[in-house]
Symmetry: C2
């Protein structure tokens, strides 16, 4: 996942590939996020580097490098990374502005122009 060498910002997913109506996004996370859910879609986390904890209202999972986890639609969750984590996220196109990232209090809403988009890139 060499694309991680191209940016260092945290909490700013970059679209690196698309499959049908889905997007693959790389992102660096560190710290605590807010509780949220996605009403219409599952969300896939594939951890490339580091340890991600995903809290649920009734527990938590630890997802480590080389592991993946699918959060089912409608399930409230809160990602947390004590140290920086590099992730590959898979979501349908369009989730960006209604889900996780736009909901952050600390981080500004991403505009389309901030995204690195390429439709069939090799990571």
């Amino acid at each position: 996942m060499q694309k991680f060498g191209l940016f260092h910002e945290q909490w700013q997913p970059k679209v690196i590939a698309e499959m049908n109506d889905y997007q693959f996004k790389v992102v660096n996370l560190q710290g605590d996020f807010i509780w949220h859910d996605h009403k219409d879609t599952d969300e896939t986390f594939i951890v490339i580097e580091g340890d991600l904890r995903i809290d649920f209202r009734n527990g938590a999972v630890h997802v480590r490098a080389g592991e993946m986890f699918v959060v089912p639609k409608g399930v409230e969750h809160k990602p947390y990374a004590q140290n920086e984590v590099k992730l590959l996220l898979i979501e349908p196109r369009g989730v960006l502005n209604t889900g996780m990232w736009a909901a952050s209090g600390q981080r500004s809403r991403m505009s389309g122009s901030e995204r690195l988009s390429s439709s069939n890139d090799v990571v």
Copy 2:
């Protein structure tokens, strides 16, 4: 991707997770496959271990561990692995019996019962 420790067969994808209507499958490949395409869907290859070559009618790509490639729908391709490659495949549910795996001359068609299926597993 510890699930690879659970099986050693080649060319037999195992479903390890699902996201909406999509399935994540792990598979070991070695050798040459046949030319084929998927009329209705893109197909995503994420290489976990080894080097995969995907031949196209007008060239080839090499996809190495930690890299991914999306083959666009309708594009003829032929995977090739000189040495064993461990892959994560992402395809819509139902592609199994019409695409790559069923088309193999050497390998028998997979029946549903041969699949390891779990809907929200951690790899």
